[in-house]
């Protein structure tokens, strides 16, 4: 039986290092190639030796698909393609292709220049890796090879994020990447058509959360920022340069404008302006409202938000700073955090999910004494707030997507095992489909039952639909034909054509049945009675009484003889060919019931 095999190398019952292998109809596809932010050793990248021990990856994988530019989805790409070695195609959307190398370079700088690691990928490797990338449009059907095709759908989440459908023949898999089912201030909601995939691989970051309305969260966020600034405190918002940052900037910008606030807002790193520029140029990927008004007013041109300088952190007075990276695991956000952590007037707002092992995760889980490098203990007195702004679908959203796509199986990745368990039950209950949640390295096998495409000769199709009454679209119809297989493809043709092509002689198969009828009259009178009876019952058929004394119904022959021993019993011989089996057996059963008593 055909099967689809899925093995997560990362993101199996975990968040981070997304990397999922899918085998479908003999094709192998790798979905995402991410790094894990919680680790600094070998575990940060997926274990590619799982794919093949000594062969070349290019020979084994038909293509690699990257869903969006977040590093936990693309951070291992240069390592994978340049250091392990892969020369096949890598697919991603245009914005992802544009932004991905910048984040990779940023990541490389932090790892190599700041932490002094060696044996890491180089800038040149990032460039070489990006040369293997093929950019795809939304909804474009990309033919990877003769059989394998992929198609991208809008996923919300971040600029350029996409879900991908992978299809071979009638079998298909949809991989969601990260997605968001509610539009936010800068992006639209994910959308997919009712494509009924055999398997839907969905993220499940917020598997158990049902979030309140976005407006409430926004109001909360603004209130907290406002209060802190009013009492002279400093607000640190760790973000990733692209994504949430732009949404929160739009939010604060409009709030500052409306409330006429004077406290400065800064955005760290040189990426900001560049990042906003990407948003301006890829405005078709943002939400309806921004797209509609961009000619009059580009939402990504900020008046109140200025570039941050390292020295500003020691300035007195209130300020709001957006700093990267978002999980406080390194870089500028961590530096500022260390400076401000000791003052209870200050506040840090974590607007997104934090991976285990990061400082962000530690403070969110309530830890107030952190061990930093060099055994130094940092006491956290500043307020720590968590606001779920990360654009992942919540439980409701995940269910909604399943309803939209109508998959036959669901597989959960990119989430925590305990939460997945809960969602899995809910999905199985509500949709009556199997739901899987493999751990990293664990293979899930799904059996499919794809229909088989067959070429039917037009002559046969027309002949078969013309037989009998007008075609009724609501009723099934029986069809006769000969199925031929040649060079691995099927054809359905008429028996005559098949015989001709195969050079076979036709054998006639006839059924003959005797039906006894009690009738003392002469033979030809019995025949006449039978004829009249059949003519009365079978109004739609051609019933004929032939001069030689036999009756034909279409091509079925009926003859009557007297019984050799009992003259009062007549024997009806009913004879039909194999092709007329249906009518022939119907006639016999009709005649067996006997003739009606009075046939005038």
């Amino acid at each position: 039986m055909p099967e689809i095999k899925v093995t997560p190398l990362g993101a199996g019952q975990d968040v981070g290092r997304s990397c999922i292998l899918v085998s479908i109809a003999g094709k192998n596809v790798m979905l995402d190639c991410g790094m894990h932010m919680g680790y600094n050793d070998d575990r940060r990248f997926p274990d590619f030796s799982y794919i093949t021990q000594n062969g070349r990856l290019t020979d084994f994988l038909d293509c690699v698909i990257i869903s969006h530019f977040h590093l936990d989805h693309c951070g291992a790409l240069p390592y994978f393609s340049e250091m392990v070695g892969y020369d096949g195609p890598i697919y991603m959307t245009h914005p992802t292709k544009a932004i991905c190398p910048i984040l990779l370079e940023d990541y490389r700088k932090i790892t190599v220049d700041k932490k002094g690691e060696t044996n890491f990928f180089t800038s040149q490797m990032i460039k070489d890796c990006m040369k293997k990338v093929v950019a795809v449009h939304l909804h474009q059907t990309v033919q990877v090879d003769e059989e394998l095709e992929i198609k991208a759908y809008y996923a919300g989440h971040v600029l350029g994020a996409a879900m991908f459908q992978i299809k071979v023949g009638c079998e298909s898999v949809v991989y969601t990447g990260d997605y968001n089912m509610t539009p936010d201030r800068h992006l639209g909601a994910a959308w997919i058509d009712k494509c009924r995939p055999d398997l839907l691989i969905t993220e499940s970051t917020y598997a158990t959360t049902i979030r309140d309305s976005k407006r409430c969260r926004e109001r909360d966020f603004l209130k907290k920022v406002h209060e802190t600034v009013e009492r002279g405190g400093k607000v640190l918002i760790p973000v990733f340069a692209l994504g949430r940052a732009q949404e929160l900037c739009i939010l604060l910008e409009t709030f500052w404008e409306r409330m006429n606030l004077k406290a400065p807002i800064y955005f760290s790193t040189g990426l900001t302006e560049k990042a906003n520029h990407y948003y301006k140029l890829f405005i078709t990927w943002t939400n309806q409202k921004i797209r509609k008004t961009f000619v009059q007013r580009n939402m990504f041109e900020f008046k109140h938000i200025k570039a941050f300088d390292r020295a500003f952190a020691d300035n007195p007075g209130p300020m709001v700073v957006f700093a990267t990276p978002g999980m406080l695991h390194a870089g500028q956000s961590l530096q500022i955090f260390r400076k401000w952590a000791g003052n209870e007037k200050n506040m840090v707002i974590m607007p997104g999910y934090c991976v285990q092992g990061t400082v962000g995760h530690k403070i969110l889980s309530g830890q107030r004494k952190l061990e930093m490098e060099g055994r130094q203990i940092l006491e956290v007195k500043m307020q720590v707030e968590y606001m779920s702004f990360s654009a992942h679908a919540d439980a409701k959203g995940i269910m909604q997507l399943i309803r939209q796509a109508e998959p036959r199986n669901v597989l959960l990745v990119h989430g925590e095992a305990k939460k997945m368990e809960f969602l899995k039950q809910k999905i199985e209950q509500e949709f009556h489909v199997n739901c899987y949640m493999p751990a990293n390295g664990e293979t899930t096998t799904i059996f499919t039952n794809p229909s088989i495409p067959v070429d039917i000769s037009l002559g046969l199709l027309k002949r078969e639909t013309a037989i009998g009454l007008l075609p009724d679209v609501k009723k099934p119809k029986l069809m006769h034909g000969t199925l031929m297989m040649k060079d691995n493809s099927f054809r359905l043709v008429s028996p005559e054509q098949a015989l001709k092509e195969l050079g076979l002689a036709e054998h006639q198969l006839r059924f003959t049945c005797r039906v006894h009828i009690q009738d003392p009259r002469k033979e030809h009178e019995t025949v006449l009675r039978v004829y009249n009876h059949l003519k009365g019952v079978l109004k739609d058929y051609s019933v004929q009484h032939l001069p030689d004394g036999s009756i034909t119904v279409e091509s079925i022959l009926i003859q009557a003889t007297a019984h050799s021993e009992d003259q009062g019993t007549k024997v009806l011989l009913v004879s039909w060919t194999y092709q007329d089996e249906e009518l022939g057996s119907y006639l016999t059963s009709l005649l067996k019931k006997g003739l009606p008593q009075s046939t005038a």
């Binding site: 890829f282 088989i452 037009l458 002559g459 034909g481 199925l483 031929m484 359905l492």
Partner: protein
């Protein structure tokens, strides 16, 4: 059986209908605007010259038409709101059209007439740039006609008996009873709301019977050719394609292979001109005029070739010493057009895409605007009149010279031989366009830039993709009427192309012998097990 209805006689503004597997598909919705050349221009400010034109008098001296028709330098013009020649609406019931496929923004200008007046209830498919820029073109059209309300509406001349008496070209104008006034913005919005956006190589299923796919055609932002196919039949609709490298994504030729029928429309209108040479001539004429202290007027559409012209000027102005000459782009949609051009990175050629990745705006006109070399205004009224400095270069519409801000500049600059009008758009004959402004002292330069396929490229393309049959407008099967000796200016292929003309119906050849169905895998089991012959297995199924 496939049927092909031709509703438009204009080969570059096609409107065809294809009946294929019980679906009715309209291919493009072009609006023939050459009819406006028969009308007087709509001046933005009262023009004494135009209002003093004498009424036309018949040979026998009767003057009953002198209110409707005016004479200017030997030509007769209708003094009324300009009207357009619509596609045929009587040839078949247009309410039965299931879908409309749009190939580029120039070929959708008749859309509101079709979707709003024929009982059409289907869907229109087009790419995002096509829709956005198409909307801008329609907006500009509606705006430039509505802002100059005209009290008079001439209709007497359309009477068949009367039309017979008129001088050419009015006498020979076809289907004048079908000519219609411009649509309104609410109609444009209603029409555009029926469009569904599609991307290149997106497979769209129509009722499970037919699959349609847009392919990049290389002619304009978002321009597409269409593949219409079932499992065993493939019709390619090639409309407005270009093999030149300008700003759009290159043409996808490979996907056109194995077509049973290839419908070929939208070839270049100026087959004898080389677009590159024309651009060079454009620049040198522009520079010469400005150096002599004259102004340059470029009648143009607000999108398309203007992007390429601005890019050429960007590279040219400093070396030609034109850095201090102001360039004005005047159109109600000038700003939108310039902004929109920068956000369609995915639809641009590779070079421009790479710029976006940096991230930099793909078109250099962003820099021209930033450095104040290029200024854009919604109209000549308002800010423009304060900033206006001469000598200057003005890009403005409409290329027919019958409405829009261009009319004002023709009246303003026409009297001086220092000034030059440079025609770059190929849609209108420049002599006809100029007729109501005669006599004219201004210099006229004709540099038509039409990047669409020429006949050499067509024959190469056909050799490459090898369609079984070619179908094209009759104009492409014979040399142009003015150059009847140029037998190279026609389509040459084997078998010879099937041609069509306005209001004609063709039956497309080609019969299929097989159809695709799907069966359950269980049915195939006996065949797989049959060991009769490993090459040819069969089983009888009931």
């Amino acid at each position: 059986m496939k049927l092909h209805y031709c509703l438009s006689g204009h080969p570059t503004l096609p409107c065809n209908v294809l009946k294929f597997k019980s679906t009715t598909i309209m291919l493009d919705c072009g609006l023939d605007m050459t009819s406006t050349l028969n009308f007087l221009p709509l001046p933005l400010v009262q023009s004494p010259r135009l209002s003093k034109l004498p009424g036309w008098v018949l040979k026998d001296g009767s003057t009953f038409l002198d209110k409707e028709l005016k004479e200017c330098s030997g030509h007769v013009f209708v003094d009324s709101v300009p009207e357009f020649c619509l596609p045929e609406t009587e040839l078949l019931d247009l309410s039965t059209v299931d879908v409309i496929l749009i190939s580029n923004y120039h070929c959708m200008m008749a859309l509101p007439y079709i979707t709003e007046y024929t009982g059409f209830t289907g869907t229109v498919y087009a790419t995002e740039p096509t829709v956005q820029i198409g909307r801008l073109l329609m907006e500009e059209l509606v705006n430039s006609i509505e802002r100059v309300p005209k009290a008079q509406s001439a209709s007497m001349w359309k009477n068949k008996e009367v039309q017979r008496l008129l001088p050419v070209p009015l006498k020979d104008a076809v289907e004048v009873s079908m000519w219609r006034k411009c649509y309104t913005m609410p109609e444009v919005n209603a029409a555009l709301s029926k469009i569904q956006l599609v991307g290149y190589s997106q497979k769209i299923e129509l009722f499970g019977a037919v699959q349609v796919t847009p392919l990049s055609s290389g002619y304009a932002l978002g321009s597409s050719n269409w593949i219409i196919q079932s499992h065993y039949e493939k019709v390619s609709y090639v409309s407005g394609s270009s093999l030149l490298t300008t700003h759009p994504q290159p043409m996808d030729q490979a996907s056109l292979k194995n077509s049973d029928v290839l419908i070929l429309t939208g070839l270049t209108q100026i087959p004898t001109a080389n677009p590159d040479g024309m651009v060079g001539e454009f620049c040198s004429n522009l520079a010469m005029t400005v150096r002599n202290g004259g102004n340059v007027l470029v009648p143009c559409y607000p999108s398309g070739v203007i992007y390429d012209l601005l890019e050429c000027l960007y590279q040219y102005i400093d070396s030609a010493g034109l850095s201090n000459v102001p360039f004005y782009f005047i159109s109600p949609v000038a700003n939108s057009s310039l902004e929109f051009s920068q956000i369609f990175a995915e639809w641009l050629c590779h070079n421009k895409q790479t710029k976006v990745y940096l991230p930099e705006p793909p078109f250099p006109h962003a820099e021209l605007i930033q450095t104040n070399k290029l200024k854009h205004y919604p109209s000549i009224h308002g800010d423009f009149s304060n900033d206006f400095k001469q000598p200057c270069v003005v890009f403005t519409g409409h290329p027919s010279l019958r409405f829009g801000d261009v009319v004002h500049f023709m009246e303003l600059w026409g009297k001086s031989s220092l000034n030059t009008v440079i025609f770059t758009e190929p849609d209108f004959s420049y002599l006809d366009a100029l007729a109501p402004y005669q006599p004219l002292a201004m210099k006229c330069v004709y540099c038509p830039i039409d990047t669409r396929l020429n006949f050499i490229q067509v024959s190469k393309l056909l050799k490459e993709v090898q369609p079984l049959h070619v179908v094209c407008p009759e104009q492409y099967t014979q040399p142009p009427p003015t150059q009847s000796h140029r037998t190279d200016l026609m389509i040459d292929c084997q078998p010879p192309p099937m041609s069509y003309r306005r209001a004609e119906v063709l039956t497309l050849p080609y019969k299929r012998r097989y159809e695709k169905i799907e069966i359950m895998p269980e049915v195939t089991v006996p065949v797989m097990r049959n060991t009769f012959s490993p090459e040819e297995r069969y089983s009888v199924i009931c």
